[in-house]
């Protein structure tokens, strides 16, 4: 039996020696993926070009939904808020997560206990966390009481902010909750990456006379840059998709000051029964995220180091 000249390995090309049972095992989840992701995503693209209400299709409207979005001030407010979440949450989360990971990587005693404590918010229900933070951040909540004590103690002119009731601080309340919730995840990933940094590199740098900061700056950080890149993009997508945190804690208010794009998508779909507008916004968001990720992917060549290259 003569085999054809080495075929290109392809996921989709069937080869006689391939085991079909494998696909059978995959079938249930592939079916689920097809119905609940691929079909839903394709549908939403179609819906975004129609007038579509509760009972379904009414008319094709072309790009009208997208044009209306461009003129919708609330949508742009939500975009600005989401951009705010992006530029605050992502860098703060990376910096905090890295700092915590570095601290835990010193080989201190009871590292496991701290790791557990810092990771606990990640596996806590965000709704429960939001309700607790609503209490902590309320006018007479614990955090404001501390701020008051701090002001009295130091004599500094600090007045406790109205976290949830003023347009200036509501977004910060969401940022605080999100940092509490997600930084543990960043820490754990960084911790794993730090443990993969070859000991001989830092030792060599030490022999060459590099101090702690220099070793961090010139050895450790470049060695974990691929992790930083992954976390950066992953957390950025998470920030783009922020929903539950503002939804539960501030309801997007006051005055839409903490409304996120995904929350506005939800309101359009289920409060206003505008499935068409919601679908158009979802695709807008997809384009934002996709473009953002693509740009990051291009930029990574400048700063991300892969050991295999």
């Amino acid at each position: 039996m003569s085999l054809p000249p080495a075929p290109r390995r392809s996921l989709f090309r069937w080869r006689p020696d391939q085991q079909w049972e494998g696909y059978l095992f995959l079938l249930p989840s592939l079916l689920g993926f097809a119905v609940f992701v691929i079909l839903a995503v394709t549908m939403s693209l179609g819906i975004s070009f129609t007038s579509w209400g509760l009972t379904g299709f009414r008319a094709f409207v072309g790009l009208d939904n997208y044009r209306a979005l461009l003129r919708d001030p609330v949508f742009w407010q939500a975009v600005r808020n989401t951009a705010f979440y992006l530029v605050t949450i992502v860098p703060m989360q990376l910096a905090l997560g890295l700092a915590m990971a570095l601290a835990l990587n010193q080989g201190l005693r009871a590292t496991g206990v701290y790791r557990l404590i810092y990771f606990m918010p990640v596996v806590t229900t965000v709704v429960a966390g939001a309700i607790v933070f609503r209490l902590l951040l309320s006018n007479n909540g614990l955090i404001n009481v501390w701020i008051q004590h701090f002001a009295q103690f130091t004599g500094l002119p600090v007045t406790p902010p109205n976290w949830l009731g003023s347009t200036r601080y509501a977004r910060w309340a969401v940022v605080i909750l999100t940092l509490w919730k997600n930084t543990g995840f960043t820490m754990v990933i960084y911790l794993a990456a730090l443990q993969g940094v070859p000991r001989e590199l830092t030792d060599a740098a030490r022999v060459d006379g590099a101090g702690g900061w220099q070793r961090l700056r010139h050895v450790t950080l470049p060695m974990i840059s691929s992790t930083t890149f992954f976390l950066f993009v992953y957390q950025a997508i998470g920030a783009f998709q922020l929903f539950t945190e503002p939804f539960v804690m501030t309801r997007g208010g006051p005055a839409n000051s903490s409304l996120s794009v995904v929350q506005y998508i939800y309101l359009a779909a289920f409060r206003d029964i505008r499935m068409d507008k919601a679908a158009a916004m979802a695709w807008f968001l997809f384009i934002f995220i996709f473009a953002f990720t693509l740009i990051q992917n291009r930029l990574q060549r400048r700063w991300v180091y892969y050991e295999t290259e």
């Binding site: 609503r134 949830l164 347009t167 783009f240 939804f247 289920f270 409060r271």
Partner: protein, 455 residues
């Protein structure tokens, strides 16, 4: 940890794809999609599917959709049982969901188009929004054929369940906002109790006298109820609530009314709505003596009676030369256009909305202030339980009218995304009514134009 470029790319593509699917409607939303219907109790609770047990003789089975706490479902079941005793040929099955899930689930049922699943009679708010989607039955012909009396409803109330001039539902109750006052605090301050002669000046003076900075506010009221001040003073939100052409919030009478409420807060006599929400709502602050007066609908009565507060109600003070006014609205019973037993559904619906039927049972249970004037004037409402001054509630109800909200399908979006957020800025003290309201009106007008109003 080694990460290869290719695996990063594959991973990111997957995440991007999941990102999109995550943008699809969430399966279990955690909070209500629309503004809370005025007079319904705001106690979302665990779901409890109750099914009526009836003899198998029933020829027709109706599905009756509603939201409610377990206690409320007990009373709904009592209503269903009373109906089935009178009409053994019809069986009522309750489909109950907690408030948080009700609207998404019922929307899904209607969207399915499956008559076997679609509830025949449903509790709903806001009716015009759904009537516009074509999922509700136009009740005009049933009303005409049976001679059902629409005049028994409080003035303006049926407007909230109309769409394009036709009746699509019957409000079960009416939100009647009255002034609750704490008698003990009034006595301690040596103040006379409020009555129908009070104007805004007396209210301001009393609120000032009752305020203890850092401890107690004279008055607390949810920001969403500001249309009361507006209409009392001859102001308005829109020029027309069915087919609006312009925003009226920047008119002098409107600005004056909004400024009145904002001043009470800026002077510290009234609690800011955002603070009220954080403090647990008006029921909590009234019971805890953190507010001496609140303005709220009748759903607070049972809570205050249970807490044993010494309180009474009065009509809400009006401005000098103003008029008494109450926003007419309440969640309504509707019939699905996809019902497969419309005649039986009408029999049930018209029984529900009669003083001899459902209205009386709900009212006697203390759950609602009835939509029908005859029920309000019957012994079912005129009990000897607190509050003593029930006449004040009837007087406010009699002053009901259009003007609290729009009756066009896009009202929920306009109020939730534009007007509500705009008013937030004023209630929080961040904006001044005289400058903020004209800016808000520009946004409202742009919104109306974007949907092609006036039509």
């Amino acid at each position: 940890m080694k990460i290869h470029r290719r695996s990063v790319l594959v991973l990111l593509t997957l995440i991007a794809l999941l990102a999109l699917s995550a943008c699809a409607p969430p399966a279990t939303p955690v909070a209500p999609p629309a503004a809370e219907p005025p007079a319904a109790t705001d106690q979302p609770a665990t779901t409890d599917q109750t099914t009526a047990e009836q003899p198998a003789a029933a020829a027709v089975t109706l599905t009756w959709a509603l939201w409610g706490s377990p206690e409320e479902v007990v009373s709904h079941q009592r209503v269903a049982d009373a109906f089935m005793a009178e009409h053994p040929e019809i069986k009522i099955e309750i489909w109950n969901q907690p408030w948080d899930d009700y609207f998404t689930k019922i929307q899904a049922l209607w969207a399915s188009g499956d008559t076997a699943l679609i509830p025949d009679i449903a509790f709903l708010w806001p009716t015009p929004r759904y009537a516009a989607e074509g999922v509700l039955e136009n009740l005009d012909s049933f009303i005409e054929q049976s001679g059902y009396n629409l005049d028994d409803y409080w003035p303006g109330l049926l407007e909230s369940a109309k769409y394009q001039g036709s009746v699509y539902g019957f409000p079960r109750d009416i939100e009647v906002n009255v002034l609750y006052y704490n008698k003990d605090l009034f006595d301690a301050a040596g103040l006379a109790y409020p009555d129908e002669t009070w104007t805004w000046d007396e209210l301001t003076a009393a609120a000032e006298a009752l305020t203890v900075p850092g401890e107690r506010y004279g008055l607390a009221m949810e920001g969403g109820k500001f249309s009361k001040w507006l209409n009392q003073n001859g102001g308005a939100i829109l020029d027309d609530y069915v087919n609006p052409s312009k925003c009226m919030l920047a008119e002098p009478a409107s600005v004056e009314a909004v400024a009145f409420f904002a001043d009470l807060m800026n002077k510290g006599y009234a609690m800011r709505p955002a603070d009220l929400g954080q403090a647990g709502g008006d029921q909590a602050v009234f019971i805890a003596d953190q507010a001496a007066m609140i303005i709220q609908n009748t759903s607070r009565v049972s809570g205050f009676n249970q807490a044993g507060k010494a309180y009474d109600v009065a009509v809400v003070p009006i401005p000098e030369g103003g008029q008494r006014w109450n926003a007419a609205g309440g969640a309504a019973w509707v019939m699905s256009a996809g019902s497969d037993a419309k005649d039986a559904a009408w029999t049930f619906l018209s029984w529900l909305q009669s003083t001899e039927g459902g209205e009386q049972v709900y009212t006697a249970a203390g759950e609602i202030f009835p939509a029908l004037q005859s029920t309000a004037n019957s012994p079912a409402f005129m009990t000897d339980q607190a509050p003593a001054n029930k006449q004040a509630i009837i007087d406010e109800a009699a002053a009901s009218g259009v003007g609290g909200f729009g009756y066009f399908p896009e009202w929920g979006e306009l109020d939730g995304s534009v007007i509500g957020p705009g008013m937030d800025l004023i209630w929080s003290g961040e904006a001044d009514p005289a400058t903020a309201l004209p800016a808000l009106c520009e946004q409202v007008d742009a919104f109306l134009a974007s949907y092609g109003y006036p039509k």
